[in-house]
């Protein structure tokens, strides 16, 4: 009886191994991608509108004092602190919202004018107008005739 069962059980063990390997491969492949997603907090949009570009960042639950914007040349650095919810005696059922200190550095295709960056935080969305530096604005070139 055992002899008869043995060949039947073998492929099942193989299948178990294969399924385990499949999951291991999936997590190994997914982990760098998951890491990249984490680095993308907070999520940023920048769009262009003539000589001004606009920055929009989703910052739900973040206070004005916990946001820092630094502009240098064509780089924009955003430092954000999202605080823990109030401490109390409770059980967590689900925890999806990231907390902590996050830094994002973006390089734009042109230099920015740091004096003209104005930012607002409303309903958990940070918006800022990013003006191009004078050196990055288009200039009319005079044509010389011989």
């Amino acid at each position: 009886m055992l002899d008869l069962l043995y060949p039947v059980r073998m492929p099942l063990y193989d299948l178990h191994d294969q399924v385990s390997r499949l999951f291991e491969d999936f997590y190994r492949e997914a982990s760098p991608w998951m890491g990249e997603e984490l680095n993308r907090f907070p999520a940023i949009n920048i769009w262009e509108d003539g000589e001004t570009s606009h920055l929009e960042v989703e910052l739900p639950g973040v206070k004005m004092d916990d946001v820092e914007i630094l502009v240098s040349g064509n780089q924009l650095k955003l430092v954000v602190q999202r605080r823990e919810p109030e401490n109390g005696k409770h059980t967590w059922h689900r925890r999806e919202r990231l907390v902590g200190r996050f830094t994002r550095v973006l390089t734009l295709p042109w230099e920015l004018n740091p004096d003209k960056v104005q930012a607002r935080l409303k309903d958990g969305v940070l918006t800022a107008d990013l003006s191009k530096a004078d050196s990055a604005k288009p200039r009319k070139i005079k044509l010389l005739t011989d």
């Binding site: 949009n45 769009w47 739900p60 919202r97 958990g124």
Partner: protein, 132 residues
């Protein structure tokens, strides 16, 4: 009380969900339970307090939030495009009996907090042990 007292209906996923020919986003949520009830915190950036609907019906707590400028955002010329703007929707199934009239929502800085008090019969009680 088990950790299964509150169950999410929709999977938490950054990808938008298509329903009724519209795109909905599932807001990230924190769910906490204490002796007297549940506290939910949801990320709903860009939503104004007047644009949030919270309903509780037969054990299901549903949240919807509208964002004002989702259509305008689609036509922009993006240099960096990491998120899309659209309405939020998510439901939670609550197996614990709750005090439906006592449910309160509060939206501030794009963060929605919902307090769901437990029904009196569901609250943890200390049982007195008598000495015969």
């Amino acid at each position: 009380m088990t950790t299964q007292a509150l169950v999410t209906r929709h999977p938490s996923d950054d990808k938008p969900e298509r329903l009724d020919n519209a795109t909905w986003y599932s807001p990230a949520a924190d769910i906490m339970e204490d002796r007297d009830g549940f506290t939910l915190k949801l990320d709903m950036p860009g939503v104004r307090p007047a644009d949030v609907d919270i309903t509780y019906d037969d054990g299901v707590l549903s949240v919807e939030g509208k964002t004002p400028d989702s259509k305008r955002a689609a036509d922009r010329h993006y240099l960096v495009h990491e998120y899309d703007i659209g309405p939020y929707r998510r439901s939670f199934s609550i197996r614990t009996p709750v005090d439906a009239d006592g449910i309160e929502g509060h939206l501030k800085d794009g963060e929605l907090s919902i307090r769901v008090p437990k029904a009196a019969e569901a609250k943890a009680r200390k049982i007195a042990v008598r000495d015969n």
